[in-house]
């Protein structure tokens, strides 16, 4: 079943088309990879889906309902969670409270303070931050800050989760851990769209990949098809093409 579908999604910044007439869809339960060179429009597409920006023209449907133009908090409560490329954590708040915000506000169903706390503890355990719950979020390592972003987004009980480069800047070990985390999230039944430059991760974790270049969709397919596509190799993968195998 298609959980999210974009039709002719376009966004101009001045005269520049950051996202240009892109059609895309996500099936329930899959992990969709979004790749492309820097400036290809990947994060802009995330901003359009999560309603930071409004597409013009174009429509985005979530579970068959047109969600174009809704406010970000509504999108979140409907079940679309996101993380940010440059971490947007609440730096002075304890790690614990960062996640609790998501639990308290992220769903349209009422949640008691006790339930929110229980969920917060469970999620901190899930991403492996339980032992640093009380320290200010700014004191975490980059890798842990990215995990915190994931936990905070998960606290809003997303059906669809947008992960924006959660592996960039991490060491090899940390990347392996992050890949494991993505798999664990998928196993919870959450549909995922992830932007990533770490090819090893993209090729191993994703069920399907969409490639953007200059705001346009230039390829779409399984990791194997993408790795072999001459067009993708030319604009993006280059020498890396064999990384996934």
């Amino acid at each position: 079943m298609r959980i999210l579908e974009g039709k002719g999604v376009t966004k101009y910044f001045g005269g520049l088309a950051a996202v240009d007439n892109v059609d895309f869809y996500v099936d329930e339960g899959e992990v969709l990879g979004l790749i492309g060179p820097n400036g290809a429009g990947k994060t802009t597409l995330f901003n359009l889906i999560s309603a930071s920006l409004v597409p013009k023209p174009g429509t985005i449907e979530y579970k068959g309902r047109n969600i174009t133009g809704l406010k970000p908090y509504k999108i979140c409560r409907m079940g679309i969670g996101r993380t940010f490329q440059t971490v947007h954590i609440f730096a002075d708040l304890p790690v614990y409270d960062n996640v609790r915000v998501g639990a308290l506000f992220g769903t349209s169903t009422k949640i008691s303070a006790a339930e929110a706390e229980k969920e917060t503890e469970e999620l901190l355990e899930f991403v492996g931050l339980a032992n640093v719950a009380q320290i200010p979020a700014r004191d975490l390592t980059l890798s842990n800050q990215k995990r915190l972003e994931v936990a905070r987004a998960l606290a809003t009980r997303p059906v669809l989760l947008l992960l924006d480069e959660i592996m960039s800047g991490l060491t090899n070990t940390e990347v392996a851990q992050a890949m494991e985390l993505v798999r664990k999230i998928r196993d919870r039944g959450v549909t995922i769209i992830m932007i990533e430059h770490v090819m090893k991760a993209i090729m191993n974790v994703c069920d399907r990949i969409v490639v953007l270049h200059h705001g346009q969709k230039i390829a779409e397919g399984s990791p194997k098809e993408i790795a072999k596509s001459p067009k993708v190799i030319e604009v993006y993968l280059g020498e890396q093409a064999n990384v996934g195998s």
Partner: protein, 341 residues
């Protein structure tokens, strides 16, 4: 003797704020002690006019006024970091509510009316301007003071032909008690907001507004609502103090100092804790009262020096500094334990 009363009154005020903060905390030590002392402190504040005669209750009510203005400013601007300079505007709206209807309705009615009208102004202004951040928001809220006061001046001169008007006069004890009640209500409201999920929402808005919106917080609604609550108390305060002034005109009622002073007091005292603004307001208001009579030219200069020093050397205010020192002292005492862990 008079100074003893000041000291007792000030300590009671600060203690009441500290108590609210203590209620928030998870580790509560000395369970019987704290509520017991609160009862005594509130009882002392409540009976203050009975044994402190003359000028003392008047000074005390001025101080409580600044305490209330400063806490009400902190409710919104503390956690969100939105620098509101509109306190004087809401205060002035309260003053003029008392001036317009004070003679025809009883005291509690026009005090609450002053608060309600201020909140309505805050709702309108907030919905329009809370998308502005930083310096733009500060400038707009400052402009609001000038806008309302000049509109009022124009209206008074052209409709009534006079510049100011006389306000119904209340005796000092009545004013003191009205302020005392408002103080207790405000402490309770500030405590409820801070400990509720909306307090957490305000903090996350202050930390990263965009992320807060994507965590499901209706940021516009939360900001405007709390801004209106903050304006309510500034408005009630204006309506109360107006009855002590006898005569008001728009320039007196909308004095921008009522915007600046609460901000200075809150920063000086420290905004992290509820009792921070109280400490700041008590010290500043007392200083103002004494300095203005003795060194009327120098007092703003002294304020300025103290504030600059506070911002440079005490980023979390007086309270932050004291807590830091206490922590250091405690750590120094328990080094042996830390060595094991």
């Amino acid at each position: 003797m008079q100074y003893l009363f000041y000291a007792i009154g000030f300590l009671c005020l600060i203690y009441a704020g500290w108590f609210m903060e203590w209620l928030l905390g998870k580790e509560r030590k000395g369970k019987w002690f704290v509520p017991g002392v609160l009862v005594v402190a509130l009882a002392m504040l409540a009976t203050f006019p009975l044994y402190a005669k003359g000028y003392t209750p008047i000074l005390m009510s001025t101080i409580i006024m600044y305490v209330i203005l400063s806490i009400s400013w902190t409710i919104f601007s503390g956690p969100t970091g939105y620098m509101s300079l509109a306190t004087a505007a809401f205060f002035g709206v309260g003053v003029y509510t008392a001036a317009f209807i004070g003679k025809s309705v009883p005291l509690p009615v026009f005090i609450i009316a002053g608060g309600v009208i201020s909140s309505i102004v805050a709702l309108l202004v907030g919905a329009l301007t809370l998308r502005l951040r930083g310096i733009y928001f500060a400038m707009f809220t400052f402009g609001l003071i000038l806008l309302i006061s000049n509109l009022l001046l124009f209206y008074e001169l052209h409709v009534f032909g006079t510049r100011g008007r006389f306000v119904v006069v209340m005796d000092y004890n009545t004013i003191y008690y009205a302020m005392f009640v408002l103080f207790v209500v405000l402490l309770a409201v500030a405590y409820l907001i801070k400990s509720s999920k909306y307090g957490l929402a305000l903090q996350s808005i202050g930390q990263y507004e965009e992320a807060a919106a994507h965590m499901g917080i209706n940021v516009t609604m939360v900001k405007v609502a709390i801004f209106a609550v903050s304006a309510f108390f500034a408005g009630t305060m204006g309506a109360t103090i107006a009855t002590r002034w006898t005569y008001v005109d728009p320039i007196i009622a909308f004095n921008p100092l009522f915007s600046f002073l609460p901000v200075l007091m809150a920063i000086f005292g420290g905004m992290r804790k509820l009792y921070g603004p109280i400490i700041g307001a008590v010290i500043f208001a007392y200083l103002q009262e004494t300095l203005i009579t003795r060194f009327s030219e120098l007092y703003m200069l002294i304020f300025g020096v103290v504030l600059v020093a506070a911002i440079l050397y005490m980023p979390d205010g007086l309270v932050g500094l004291i807590l830091k020192l206490i922590n250091k002292w405690r750590k120094g005492g328990s080094k042996a334990q830390h060595a094991d862990t």
